[in-house]
Amino acid sequence: MSNRFYQIVFGTILSFVMILGTAILSSGLVWQSLPADYALLRLSFIESGIRDCRNQTKAELAELPQNMRREQVCASRRAPVYVELDLNGETLFAQNLPPTGLLGTGPSRVYQRFELPAGNYDLTVRLRNDPAKIEFTKIMTRQLSLKPAQSFVIDYKEEAGGFVFN
């Protein structure tokens, strides 16, 4: 038989072995992204801080054209939103979230992930959108029971009354 026949046979066998190796690398090896007895807690929301507003004086209003006379004027820049997350009485996350946008006119946002061992936790989460105030705008506390591989999300929706747990 000609060399070509053997080359087709050996070439096919070698290519087959090469592709099998590729197939093993493609799907045969496991990556442990999260330890088996762990769960994932994510804190993520988009919330706007307040804007600095003041009432205009009568003199100021009088100087303005009729159609532009608004009682209150606000700075376009928004205040940062402060958020705290406590687990079992210990602070896990506490941060001032700056407003987005080049001029700081956008809402503040956060996306933070915490890998936690499965188990029970006392969770407290607080949010303040006005830095001039000492008290928090919203506070929520709950008992949390995390199972292995569970994904638990803390969101914030003003229209839903504050923090939302998924």
């Binding site: 070509r4 290519s15 087959f16 590729t22 197939a23 493609s26 045969g28 442990q32 999260l34």
Partner: protein, 531 residues
């Protein structure tokens, strides 16, 4: 760096020699990496189009349709899916092997920068194509890919809101997101195709499909492997849970574990540094390569042979500008010329027999002119050590193959096709040697793409300029040998010398006159003095 590259080049040569045995020199896959990449791309496209017939977009519809095609229709659609996946993986293997091999061969400096630099975005678009593809299946792996990718992209901070929020809970994910992903999975490979097309510009006869036999071998092996190990599907994605242990594709998604382990700044910095390093490599160190070919119009009749033979589309035909009665002249694009000298070997004016005036040809290399080659040949042939046994064999060797190192009775050239056939005629008919050995790169691939092909056709009198019929073919030996085949080259030359010894002497020898020999020796000495 140089010794590392030399080791790498010799390593490739040794592996390729083994593959020469298994596949044959003309089907050696390492010599066809670019065209295999193209072939795999088309396998991915054809199987992808077929899969699209069965695929439904939607949060649950996507997974269900892929599961159905992988189980109920396993023998055609499921097979297509596995082929789609493994061909994509092989593209990554082929792409990086191609990149490392071109680095080892130092084929990225000077005018070759274009092919090198245009290859860099191809790397990222292959990855993006793969990543968007994995996303569509919407199994646990897709969930992992989606979350890890969006979390990484969100760290750039340029998007209005984090896209990873789409994957916080099942009610936040919409079917429209899958429509977007399908669009991306079609658009990105289309851009990839355009980049691959750009990548093959600037070279003549770009190989965009492998030899049919090699393509047949690859497709048979791919189909067989796909039947033996069908591409698996993991459990359906569930955003209420988080993927813990995943069978990831280490070829297309191999960076993902790293994304989890190191800060995002390091990842983005690494990607930027790797890209910039690759793009900058043609200029590191600054190019000090040979100067491009020059045209000497008084010796050029615009015959176009150099235009046709240039492997890099560096020579163009232009209207005559010097008032000579020819229609055309040639012009060299210095940005494309790699100074291989193949044009000089193609020029009918490259005749060493001329005795009046300086030896100037129509197109010549400033750093290795026809005159220099002529005089170097005479100098080497005059050396007493030029004798191999009882025969005189003069070797003209390409500097990228087994003959790349200096040796007795050997003249190195940038490419073996730089030697015009009339030079072989000259050596034998002037009695400078009993036989001429032309040594090129390994048979599987010429460093300058077409040098071997043109040399063989010229010697076989199938392509201008021919080797004249008066030169007995048995006095010319061609050896194609890679850098690690020095022993093979030596044995071929010894056997050739022994065959020459058996032959009667060449009867049409017209010895050179002494003053020509002296002139050549003076030229070579003065060239050395300049260095």
């Amino acid at each position: 760096m140089v010794s590392f590259r030399t080791s790498l080049r010799r390593g490739f040569d040794r592996v390729e020699r083994c593959l020469d045995l298994a596949f044959g020199t003309d089907w050696n896959p390492l010599a066809h990496l670019g065209s295999i990449g193209w072939f795999l791309f088309w396998v991915v496209v054809v199987t992808g189009v077929y899969l699209f017939i069965f695929f439904d977009t939607g949060v649950s519809a996507a997974y269900d349709s892929v599961r159905r095609l992988s189980t109920v229709h396993w023998w055609h659609a499921g097979l297509s899916r596995t082929l789609h996946r493994y061909a994509s993986d092989l593209m990554v293997v082929v792409m990086f092997t191609h990149l490392i091999r071109e680095f080892a061969m130092e084929r990225y400096h000077g005018p070759r920068w274009f092919s090198w630099v245009t290859g860099v975005p191809i790397i990222w678009f292959v990855y993006l194509s793969g990543i968007t593809g994995y996303w569509l299946i919407w199994d646990k792996l897709a969930q992992y890919v989606a979350i890890t990718t969006t979390e990484l992209v969100d760290t750039l901070g340029f998007l209005g809101q984090p896209i990873a929020r789409n994957f916080l809970s099942p009610d936040m994910l919409s079917n429209r997101f899958f429509t977007l992903m399908v669009f991306l999975h079609i658009a990105i490979p289309l851009i990839l195709l355009m980049l691959m097309w750009i990548h093959t510009q600037r070279i003549t006869e770009a190989r965009t499909h492998p030899p049919k036999g090699l393509a047949f071998i690859i497709i048979v092996a791919l189909v067989t492997a796909s039947l033996v190990i069908p591409a698996p599907m993991q459990a359906a994605a569930d955003l209420r849970t988080v993927p813990q242990s995943i069978n990831i594709d280490w070829l297309l998604l191999g960076l993902y574990p790293l994304v989890e382990m190191v800060p995002s700044g390091v990842i983005w910095g690494g990607i930027a540094a790797f890209t910039l390093l690759l793009i900058g490599m043609p200029w590191i160190p600054a190019n000090s390569g040979d100067r491009p070919a020059e045209v000497f119009l008084e010796h050029c009749n615009g015959c176009e042979r150099c235009v046709q033979d240039c492997p890099y589309e560096a020579i163009t035909l232009e209207p005559r500008s010097d008032g000579a009665h020819f229609r055309f002249e040639v012009a060299v694009n210095s940005r494309k010329c790699v100074a291989c000298g193949i044009c000089m070997g193609a020029c009918p004016s490259s005749s060493p027999f001329r005795r009046k005036g300086d030896l100037i040809t129509g197109i010549d290399l400033p750093d290795y002119s026809l005159a220099k080659l002529h005089d170097r040949i005479i100098e080497v042939s005059e050396s007493p050590s030029a004798q191999v046994g009882s025969s005189r064999v003069l070797t003209l060797a390409c500097s990228h193959g087994a003959g790349g190192q200096p040796a007795v009775a050997r003249v190195e050239v940038p490419c073996v096709a730089m030697v015009p056939p009339s030079m072989v005629d000259f050596i034998i008919s002037r009695g400078l040697a009993d036989g001429v050995c032309l040594v090129g790169c390994a048979a599987r691939e010429c460093h300058n793409r077409l040098g071997k092909k043109w040399t063989m056709l010229r010697l076989a009198q199938q392509r201008d300029p021919y080797l004249r019929a008066r030169i007995p073919r048995e006095r010319v030996l061609t050896v194609w040998a890679g850098p690690t085949e020095e022993n093979y080259l030596e044995s071929e030359i010894d056997a050739f010398a022994a065959r020459l010894n058996e032959m009667p002497g060449y009867e049409n020898v017209r010895q050179m006159v002494r003053k020509d020999i002296a002139k050549a020796s003076n030229f070579v000495s003065s060239e050395r003095g300049k260095k």
